[in-house]
């Protein structure tokens, strides 16, 4: 009961603020009587009406984009942990591979997107690869840090008990790395959403008219049609999707941390 009450305490204030914000927006735009303003800054009620009207398309596009982002994120999680494991094997491996990991983070994704499409062809697979590349780096660095920075006290304990390499890995290094990996995953989840939408822009997914289009396609087409209420509705859908993915990953992270009794790092 108290948990529900404290959750309500957290939810109500920002919700109320949002309500006030939209009411003010509505009032200013409609009372201004300025046609031009109403055109480039549609009233919330109009955006809402447009969202209801195109509900099916919005829902489908959001779902498709979310699927792209989550696929890219999952690939990052798996590949990132594997790369981190390899890099943590020896200092020289880490030192030689690290510059290329940095490359992943520093290369502008829009600069390599054309090459990815050249290799993988325009389609979902390219979008996933772009989302994957952009979200890989945080997982690699944070997990490598976790696997290599074992507190000396614990390391010594395992020496005293004559633990072998495998026991050390399973019972000490991996559990120590979990909170680090989770911190990386939180950052990576947000990046995978950016990657999915950028990827969709490049592949121009479903300009052919299929029903597998994502949010980027809707953003492009509503912009081209100058249907700005619909554009705003799509932007809100994209924001909601990002928020849901981040919230979901955050929730799962918190659950793992509490259920596994891990310490925050």
């Amino acid at each position: 009961m108290t948990r529900i009450r404290s959750a309500a305490k957290q939810v109500w204030p920002p919700l109320l603020l949002a309500l006030l914000f939209f009411a003010a927006w509505e009032a200013v735009v409609s009372l201004s009587g300025n046609r031009n303003l109403q055109y480039i800054l549609p009233q919330p009620t109009h955006i809402f009406a447009e969202a209801v009207k195109h509900w099916e398309a919005l829902r489908g596009a959001t779902w498709n984009s979310a699927l792209m982002a989550l696929s890219g994120f999952s690939l990052s999680l798996i590949t990132g942990c594997l790369i981190a494991f390899i890099m943590s094997q020896a200092k020289w491996v880490e030192r030689s591979a690290y510059p290329y990991a940095i490359f992943l983070q520093t290369v502008p994704i829009v600069a390599i997107a054309p090459i990815i499409i050249l290799w993988f062809e325009a389609g979902r697979q390219s979008v996933i690869v772009i989302s994957f590349i952009i979200s890989l780096f945080p997982i690699i660095t944070s997990t490598t840090t976790g696997l290599t920075h074992i507190p000396r006290e614990w390391d010594e304990l395992f020496t005293v008990y004559d633990a072998n390499w495998w026991q050390r890995l399973i019972k000490l290094r991996i559990p120590t790395a979990v909170p680090f990996m989770i911190n990386g995953a939180r950052i990576s989840a947000g990046l995978s959403v950016v990657g999915a939408i950028v990827g969709e822009y490049f592949t121009g997914l479903s300009t052919g008219g299929g029903d597998d289009f994502g949010l980027a396609y809707l953003l492009m087409s509503t912009q081209a049609d100058a249907n700005y209420s619909y554009l705003f509705a799509t932007t809100f859908a994209a924001a909601m999707m990002g928020l849901c993915i981040f919230g979901g990953v955050n929730g799962i992270s918190k659950w793992i941390m509490t259920a596994g009794h891990f310490e925050e790092v």
């Binding site: 005293v160 004559d162 559990p175 009794h261």
Partner: protein, 246 residues
């Protein structure tokens, strides 16, 4: 049981930490190493546990004593793994030796009075309870020698006294050989049969004091005159030692 012959230690090219320390530890003895921080008492303990190598000199183990299976060490910090429950932390040494049963773990947890906390995690335990878990973990392998490196230094006075009482009665019942590092004079006097007083820069043994009392050692000893006298004696000895050193 354990003999140290002229053990010296320097770290890299630093100053001499231990200077030709020779020490005999008899079976079943409770010996404290007493001295100020930096006198090398912890280093000496770590050399016995073979966590450090001596620069010169040797450590000799008698009667087929095996360093890894017969000697347990309790560190200054509990060093519990936060993702393991009390019983799983206690059973770690057995688990790493290939024994996955929990019975021995439950037994030692009962021995240290934690039978109600077996499934608790370290973040749910108080400092004193965590140290009890660490002691249980050291006992689970059924060691012959217990090395303790200022195990109660981070605890409050009341908890420290209670754990001292428990340690004393456990030792009286089990007859381990205990090497106990401390900088607390009353703790050393209360627990040990022998107190080895060390000086620093470099670490040397100043003297070895025999501590004997009339009657059994229990918590009541703390209120007795013979105990108070011995503490005062040892305190003034320590003061003299360090006055000479300065």
């Amino acid at each position: 049981m354990i003999q140290l012959h002229a053990v010296s230690k320097t770290f890299d090219s630093g100053p001499l930490v231990l200077d030709e320390v020779s020490l005999t530890l008899d079976e079943g003895a409770f010996v404290s190493l007493l001295g100020p921080s930096g006198c090398g008492k912890s280093t000496l303990l770590r050399i016995i546990a073979q966590l450090e190598h001596s620069t010169s000199g040797s450590v000799e183990f008698g009667d087929g004593l095996d360093v890894r299976s017969d000697i347990s060490i309790v560190f200054q910090e509990p060093r519990l793994l936060p993702w393991r429950s009390a019983v799983d932390n206690v059973c770690l040494p057995l688990e790493l030796a290939g024994d996955s049963s929990k019975e021995a773990g439950l037994d030692v947890l009962e021995l240290v009075g934690l039978e109600d906390a077996i499934d608790k995690f370290p973040n749910e335990l108080s400092g004193g309870m965590r140290m009890r878990v660490a002691i249980a973990r050291a006992l689970v392998t059924n060691p012959k020698v217990l090395l303790m490196d200022e195990p109660f230094a981070a605890l409050d006075e009341i908890t420290r006294e209670r754990l001292n009482d428990e340690l004393l009665s456990l030792w009286q019942g089990r007859g381990w050989t205990v090497v106990f590092v401390t900088h607390n004079v009353s703790e050393a006097v209360f627990l040990s049969e022998d107190v080895v007083v060390m000086t620093k820069n470099p670490g040397r043994i100043h003297s070895r004091e025999r501590i004997q009392f009339d009657g059994d050692r229990t918590s009541r000893l703390r209120g007795e005159e013979q105990y108070g006298k011995r503490v005062v004696q040892l305190q003034s000895l320590l003061r003299d030692v360090f006055h000479d050193a300065d």
